[in-house]
Amino acid sequence: MSYEFHRFFYLLIAVVATAAVVAVSALILIYLERKVAGHVQRRPGPFEVGPHGVLQTVADALKLMGKQPFRPDGADRLLFWLAPILAFAPALPLLLPIPFGPVLTGLEVNLGLILILAFSGINALALCMAGWGSNNKWALLGAARAVAQSVGYEIPLLMSVLSVAFMTGTLNLSKIVAYQGPWPWHWNIFTQPLAFLIYFVCAVAETNRAPFDLPEAESELTAGFHTEYSGMGFGLFFLAEYTNMLVVCSVATALFLGGWQAPFLPGFWWFLIKIYLLLLIIIWFRWTFPRLRFDQLLNLNWKWLLPLGLANLMGTALLMKIF
């Protein structure tokens, strides 16, 4: 067997494995979200399907798949159907360069970070297409919000990521993880706390999660960009949201929390634990906070996060030059 074939075979397995991770973690996350919501609200959450309702998500997924794909009159056929696919499709390349363990990396590339940032930008386009293609005013408003929000929050996000890249001198996620040590004071969050804060706020906003869920603000825009979607069209948006959450938390773990590096347990488990801790925080946000208003959301970005991110980046660059 040639080396190329080996590489190809390895990538194939990695893609299949990533798809499995996406599907399984979406099931777990949705269950987790509903259980956490339930307990935050002093009720048990799903309880009927399977022990403690663990099969509830499976039942819901089956229901969504069984529904007729439906397109409203006057909607743009191509854009309407392309949008959910485009929202979900980038999930696979997004997870490929992430080091799940010391040797568990789908695609070892030295521009892994750039790859992730590039592909995550497609999401905004998908939401925009969904909003425009639905021929619905609520969807259109949601799409307009989605674009303004994504474009705005990508910049400080990029800056916080860049300051870590400046420090480690690489864009390869595996190398960034290897740069950090096993104990918390070896992690980048220790040297870059501000960057982590900015990254996390932007990540919540990028994934359109509460309190930044303005593109789908239920009480204002009924359902925002996915007002007209039902069945698997809606299901794919839903899946994309949870996959994006997984991605941003994975990247945060790799960049700031030492990735798989930690004592005692094998690296893979540590990576999962750290990801799920971050995910739990995001879920916790959603069931605790009211929603921001649109102008407040943009003000937060342009007046606070962007200048802070810029200052942090400059400071990092300066310190790296001196020492």
Binding site: A37, V40, Q41, R42, R43, K137, W138, L141, A210, P211, D213, A217, E218, S219, E220, T222, R286, W287, T288, F289, P290, R291, L292, R293, F294, D295, Q296
Partner: protein, 549 residues
């Protein structure tokens, strides 16, 4: 007693029955030409418009305007009469803006036209309604003179010559939808919020014209839940109508029960036993708390916080459990009777009330900590929906809406009914005039209501819960009129009843606080952000069935 407005007027007659009998301090019959002068006088003296309604008499229609003053109880009732053939009255909507909706309602129900009205389109009834629903058959009408005599008679003899007036001087307006400025502006987008929308709390529809996310114009469209409760009153006996009151406002049924039963009692001049009055106070205050808890959760839901409504409902559950045992229903109570209440309370209920008071006092600090002090929540409500006091008065806003604009107007204090003067409680006001102000007022009201419940439970005397000879289903009320107002969770609830001495009401008018509070929404949100419209709508605390009736 404010009476400066009446000087210089030439009323055709003045009804002599005292306040205790009719609920009106000053009732005058006016010629159509004098109406606007009188209303200007009332406006200048600080009155606000309660409601406008009509009545169908043998000689013609009588339109009744009720005004009240926020400082002292001096309800002014103006009767303006028009003939059946050419019913037209000058509109007062340029003086009291809130009259716009009330006049449209009267136009819907009686076919009376208001000259100079800016938007004479149907409000509650469908556009293709063929005949006004409250017009009576020839044989059912009573003479206006008979009505006046039943109300103590008038002090001048010429009141009966009212209907022989000539043609209206003003040209009749063309009914049709108002066209607004810039309607065809291509930069704006018209969007329908409702009747099915998550934050309109029922079937309210608001036509919004947006410029980006900014609201250029907002027009509430109501009537989707209109059930013509006022017509139903004319087909039932006095006591049979009580269950309707539980269904006007499903969150605050007790206050509506009380308003109607209070009006009937005032009409018949009967008094409920002491114990009944205490029971009424307890259940009404509990109901006020449960209504505020639902509003609290719903407002936060509108702002995107999902969890508070679950907490609110959890506490409300205790109240519903208590009232369920007492009244047999959890939401649509028909508990009050003329002369008392339907059931007596026992010690378990009273103990349960005290237990709930203790429980709720423990919970309120948590509410404040989790929600009131949340920075996002504050940013979404502070300075949003600024409602000046003058605007409240123009629209006749009452309840927490006007108290949030720094006016301590509460019917329980200004026009004390029942035994409210015996309790020690404050009327919370807020100087904010914004959504946050209205929020703080309601949260403080929960505490005040707890205080009242506690005092009432401690003081409750023994005795009967209802008069031995209370009115039964075939009871005939004495002829006359009566207005009775109570402080509901959403504001001033007024019920105006007219009797011709028969077993059924001749006319029942329901004054819903939400009706006036919603009518100012269009002006309030102009220029606001779309997301603010949602928080303003939530801060007004609307219950659509009450508005549509």
């Amino acid at each position: 007693m404010m009476s400066g407005w009446i000087e210089g007027l030439q009323p055709l007659g003045r009804l002599t029955d005292p306040y205790e009998k009719t609920g009106s301090s000053c009732s005058i019959v006016l010629a159509r030409e004098d109406l606007r002068d009188a209303v200007v006088g009332l406006y200048e003296e600080g009155f606000f418009l309660e409601d406008i309604t009509g009545m169908d008499f043998a000689e013609g229609f009588a339109t009744v305007y009720h005004f009240d003053h926020p400082q002292e109880p001096c309800r002014a009732s103006l009767y303006v009469t028009v003939s059946h053939q050419m019913p037209a009255i000058p509109s007062i909507s340029d003086i009291f803006t809130g009259a716009e909706w009330h006049e449209r309602e009267v136009a819907d129900f009686f076919g009376i036209r208001f000259t100079g009205h800016p938007d004479p389109a149907p409000l509650l009834v469908p556009d293709d309604m063929d005949s006004p629903p409250l017009i009576k058959g020839e044989e059912d009408r009573i003479p206006f003179e008979g009505f006046l005599n039943a109300c103590g008679g008038v002090d001048k003899p010429n009141a009966s010559q009212l209907f022989s007036q000539g043609e209206p001087q003003h040209a009749l307006p063309d009914p049709g939808l108002r066209r607004s400025e810039g309607e065809d502006d291509p930069d704006t987008m018209v969007i329908n919020m409702g009747p099915q929308h998550p934050s309109t709390h029922g079937v309210l529809r608001v036509i919004l014209r947006l410029d980006g996310e900014y609201i250029v114009e907002a027009r509430p469209v109501i009537g989707y839940l209109h059930r013509m409760h006022e017509k139903m009153a004319e087909t039932r006996t006095w006591v049979q109508y009580i269950p309707n009151m539980g269904r006007v406002d499903y969150l605050n049924a007790m206050a509506w029960n009380w308003a109607y039963v209070g009006a009937v009692e005032r009409l018949a001049q009967i008094r409920a036993p002491e114990r009944a009055e205490y029971i009424r106070v307890i259940v009404s205050e509990l109901n006020r708390i449960s209504s505020h808890l639902v509003w609290w959760g719903a407002l936060l839901l509108d702002l995107g916080a999902f969890t508070p409504i679950m907490y609110g409902f959890e506490d409300r559950e205790h109240i519903l459990d208590l009232l369920q045992v007492l009244t047999g229903s959890r939401l649509t109570y028909s508990f009050f009777r003329p002369g008392g209440v339907a059931g007596d309370v026992n010690d378990d209920f009273l103990k349960g009330c005290l237990k709930f008071v203790r429980h709720m006092r423990e919970r309120l600090p948590m509410y404040a900590e989790l929600v009131t002090e949340n920075i996002i929540f504050r940013r979404r409500t502070e300075g949003i929906g600024l409602l000046p006091l003058e605007m409240c008065r123009r629209y006749g806003a009452t309840g927490p809406v006007v108290r949030g604009s720094n006016l301590a107007y509460d019917v329980r204090r200004v026009e004390p009914y029942s035994i409210y003067h015996r309790f020690d409680f404050k009327i919370p006001v807020d100087t904010g005039c914004d959504a946050m102000g209205r929020y703080c007022v309601r949260m403080a009201e929960i505490e005040e209501s707890l205080k009242i419940v506690e005092q009432a439970v401690e003081q409750i005397p023994g005795g009967d819960h209802i008069l031995k000879k209370s009115p039964g289903p075939r009871w005939k009320a004495p002829p006359g009129e009566a207005y009775f107002a109570v402080e509901g969770a959403r504001g001033k609830i007024g019920v105006y009843v007219v009797s011709d001495g028969g077993p059924k009401p001749y006319r029942v008018k329901l004054r819903a606080p939400g009706f006036s509070n919603l009518s100012l929404f269009g002006e309030l949100v102009r220029g606001a952000l779309f997301a603010d419209a949602v928080s303003i709508l939530g801060s007004l605390d609307l219950v659509i069935p009450e508005i549509d009736r």
